[in-house]
């Protein structure tokens, strides 16, 4: 048999690049970039090029496993489904439907997410369904929803190449969204100015015209200072504000308390710099704001998003090409998982569960009574494990590495009456499960992902799953049917048609329309070509709304006992909890173990050299990792990537939540560093 080439979509980040998988004898043997893909156009990052490497890994789960004592035993699918259903039902019967929770997955397809939330909502009359968007862009969904009416990236990735001024706040796109960085460089090559706001001197900052190295968590002071200066200089877009905005007077009044001098002091930068970037942003013909976890992962994450939107709306830099607000979504399908209603407060298409008309619509469509009470979020479900939540069904998420204060997460998982984990490997979370269900990876399934620019894209099955592993789609249907629901779906395309019938914005999405280049929602009918940018002429919510950003400084500040700021994030060769990347030889070669960055002066003071083992301790726990000494971090700051199970950075992070979106403050906590004896690494 000669090899086959299958076009599909990359399983890593939200950019959603096009891959061509080479398949030989039923195995994916290599990955090429798709030259025709509308976003990546024949390019890939290191992770994309390596996307095939974990697919046939020997550690892939091949049979359902049940926990017996401390070990797992193989069981048949029939027994696994029966057990899952028995335990879920038992929890619901004894403690009520709200005792069951489900974590859906931003790694899975739209159709799978739709079915998962439908199953949880229908079978248990609860809205306890959420996913890891809670840990990345929940503030975006809420904050942009409030200001513009839509919590999604306003424009298309390709629009960045046409911008004149690009303000990048809290995004290390060069490592986390490399293909988008390429679009930004296209703009630079045409003369655009790039301004980077980041406490770290990232590769993005190194390549920027201006880098504002602000103190951690001072984004609102910076943005307020900029807005104040823009208004003082009369550079705001009066016409746009009059015609399209509400709330300007309140914002203006509030900004009186943020003179540039105060902002500069709070941010720890020069006043002139704030004025300069404010003018650059306001005066450019087309300005864009790109942001990421540096904005959202704070206890004032939603307010940070408000401030970003306020700036764009103040200057009328939204609702047209080459401008707009660009939240860069993390997971390959985190946009889609949100869109599909894998959130505790909304049905698919962000239709509120507390709205009685919406409830009626879904009750009628699904034929079951549904709950109007918003459910619990990821962090709340884990926090109340063993209390309100008795049985938890986790589909392809790994909170044992990804959630803040991991030690507490592990304690909580242990308290559950029953934990089902459905994944492709025995993850750190799966080890805590009573029942493990073997699922399939991107190369083994058909379905759709929605990328960060709202583009529905088609995933094509390239190879068969290992052993008895089943697609998440099939597993959900099996469990749902065994729970007494009617899930007759044979093909994801049928599910997409159901979604289209329930969500007006996705009304025109059909599998056969996605084959060539996908479609960007809103796409209301089958004749519609999709939407390149939102808010043209009118905001999704009607008039745009300025919201006064409520600033709260970071919850923990360095003190005598914990003298450092700890910042967490990603590095270019690994992805999130490393379930896939750390099993990819090429990526693991690039970075085989954990490290933390610290400033040379801090290192010298502690007698720490490059590569030394150091212990980082916060109020919640400690990890041992290797020191990397670099001026990328500021004096008094440490950066630790969160990919590494042997030194889980999230043991250290602060679980304090943003009151509105419930995102934890991953980006800032206080920590101390001690040098560890350089002995052989303990296991």
């Amino acid at each position: 048999m000669s090899p086959d080439f299958i076009k599909t979509i990359c399983p890593y980040c939200g950019v959603g690049c096009g891959l061509v998988l080479k398949v030989e004898d039923g195995k994916v043997v290599s990955t090429y970039p798709d030259r025709e893909h509308p976003v990546s156009r024949g390019t890939l990052c290191i992770k994309g090029w390596s996307a095939h490497e974990f697919v046939h890994h020997p550690q892939r789960l091949k049979t359902p496993l049940v926990k017996k004592g401390d070990t797992f035993e193989e069981i048949s699918w029939n027994d696994a489904i029966a057990l899952a259903v028995e335990k879920l039902k038992a929890a619901a019967e004894r403690f009520g439907g709200n005792a069951v929770g489900g974590l859906s997955s931003a790694k899975c397809t739209n159709e799978e997410n739709y079915l998962f939330q439908k199953m949880i909502r229908m079978a248990f009359k609860t809205n306890n369904v959420d996913h890891c968007a809670r840990l990345c862009h929940a503030p975006t969904a809420v904050g942009m929803g409030q200001t513009t009416g839509s919590g999604a990236m306003t424009n298309s990735i390709s629009d960045l190449a046409g911008a004149e001024c690009i303000l990048i706040i809290g995004s290390n796109a060069a490592e986390s969204h490399p293909i988008i960085m390429g679009e930004i460089y296209k703009a630079v090559d045409r003369g655009a100015a790039v301004i980077v706001v980041d406490p770290r001197k990232t590769a993005v900052a190194e390549n920027a015209r201006i880098h504002l190295r602000i103190n951690p968590g001072t984004d609102i002071p910076l943005l307020c200072g900029m807005m104040r200066h823009i208004i003082d200089e009369g550079l705001h877009n009066e016409k746009f504000i009059q015609e399209r905005m509400d709330g300007f007077e309140e914002l203006k009044k509030f900004l009186r308390s943020w003179p540039v001098e105060r902002a500069a002091k709070e941010c720890g930068i020069d006043e002139g710099e704030i004025r300069r970037v404010a003018e650059m942003y306001a005066k450019a013909k087309d300005s864009a704001v790109v942001y990421c976890m540096g904005i959202t992962q704070h206890a004032c994450g939603t307010a940070n998003v408000h401030a970003v939107c306020d700036l764009a709306m103040l200057c009328g830099q939204i609702g047209k090409t080459f401008s707009g607000v660009y939240p860069l979504r993390g997971q390959n399908n985190v946009q889609g998982a949100c869109d599909m209603g894998a959130l505790p407060n909304v049905y698919p298409g962000y239709q509120s569960v507390s709205d009685s008309a919406v409830q009626e619509k879904f009750e009628k469509a699904w034929g079951r009574e549904l709950s109007r009470k918003p459910g619990l979020t990821v962090t709340e479900m884990i926090g109340s494990a063993g209390k309100e939540i008795r049985a938890l069904y986790i589909m392809a998420e790994n909170p044992a590495l990804s959630d803040p204060d991991v030690n507490h997460v592990l304690e909580s998982l242990n308290k559950l009456d029953f934990l089902i984990v459905q994944d492709i490997f025995l993850t750190e979370t799966a080890k805590f499960a009573h029942l493990v269900l073997p699922a399939v990876c991107f190369a083994e399934k058909t379905g759709t992902y929605t990328n960060t620019e709202r583009r529905f894209q088609l995933l094509r099955k390239a190879v068969e799953p290992p052993g008895e592993a089943k697609g998440d789609f099939e597993i959900i249907c099996l469990i749902a049917n065994a729970l007494g629901l009617d899930f007759p779906y044979k093909h994801p395309g049928e599910v997409m048609e159901e979604i289209a019938s329930l969500v007006p914005d996705y009304g025109g999405i059909r599998f056969d329309r996605l084959e060539k280049a996908g479609l960007q929602w809103p796409c209301p009918d089958t004749g519609h070509e999709g939407t390149r940018f939102l808010h043209e002429g009118q905001f999704t919510r009607g008039r745009g709304l300025f919201i006064v950003p409520a600033y709260t400084p970071p919850f923990e500040k360095p003190d005598d006992e914990y003298p450092y700021y700890l910042n967490t994030g990603r590095m270019f060769a690994h992805y999130h909890t490393g379930t896939m990347t750390r099993r990819s030889p090429f990526l693991n070669r690039e970075m085989a173990g954990p490290y933390a960055e610290m400033h040379p002066e801090d290192a010298m003071r502690g007698g720490i050299r490059e590569g030394d083992r150091i212990r980082i301790t916060s109020r919640r726990g400690s990890i041992v990792t290797a020191a990397r000494i670099t001026e990328r971090v500021a004096r008094g700051s440490i950066f630790a990537p969160f990919h590494f199970t042997e030194a889980r950075a999230n043991i250290l992070t602060n679980p304090v939540l943003d009151p509105i979106s419930k995102i934890p403050e991953f980006k800032v906590c206080a920590a101390k560093i001690e040098k560890e004896p350089n002995e052989k690494q303990e296991r």
Binding site: S2, L44, A174, M181, E206, K516
Partner: protein, 283 residues
Amino acid sequence: MLKKVKDIARTILTEKQGDGVLGLIKGEWDIVQPHIFESPGEVDALVIEPKWLLAKMAMTVLRSSREGYRLAVVVRGCDERALTELVKRNQIEKERLLTIGIACTGEQASACICDRPYPQKLDAGDAVAGVDPFKEDIVKELLAGDGPARMEKWANILKRCIKCYGCRNSCPICVCIPCKLEDAVWVETGIIPAEVLSYHLIRAFHLSDTCVACGACQEACPVNIPLLALQLSMREMLRETYGYEAGLDPERKSPILYDLCKEPAAGQALPDWINSLRKDDES
């Protein structure tokens, strides 16, 4: 031209001159992707656009196919040159390889700043004149100025590198195992950008006598580094000094490997701009 390519491909398959034809297929919903045609009936769906280099795929297909499997490849000029180099370097058995040569359009030639937009064995289409890359503004600008100025210019561009290894992966003649770029002695791991001297220049020099100027490295670069310009000047130097162009003569070995003892002296074979790589230029 397309019809002619299809006819040749059908003939190859019908007359069993080859077991498969590697080319592009336009499938349902107009999706274009590489494909190995193994029956004449399939050939109707063959297309030749867009430019999609197939030489490296051809090599891996031949490596993993059964003994004696003969593969025909639809090639543009650059693909043909790459295959020639791969044969010379014992990566492909000549007897198992056939080509169907197609000419590029003038538009494609300008897009690639290609001076030979046609294969030597041209089977379909008319050869158009090439473009002199050294007369292009972008190349002139990149190679202009004295050593320190060039160093600064290139260091500025290369610090965008996100270390995707796309330049290496997509290069049709980058085939060494193990690869020096994966050796932590030369290239520090776990950090971007990749080192200018140890990553980019190892790569560039390593390819100096094999580069066929296909531009695959540059096209695969997500951050728009003009890698072709880096390569072209070395290719030009070999042409000036030794009258040698990689990928043209299947019999002639690389002068860097075989002509070192001949005149002119080896030192002169290096392009003068490499001086700019020395940070503290003595002159």
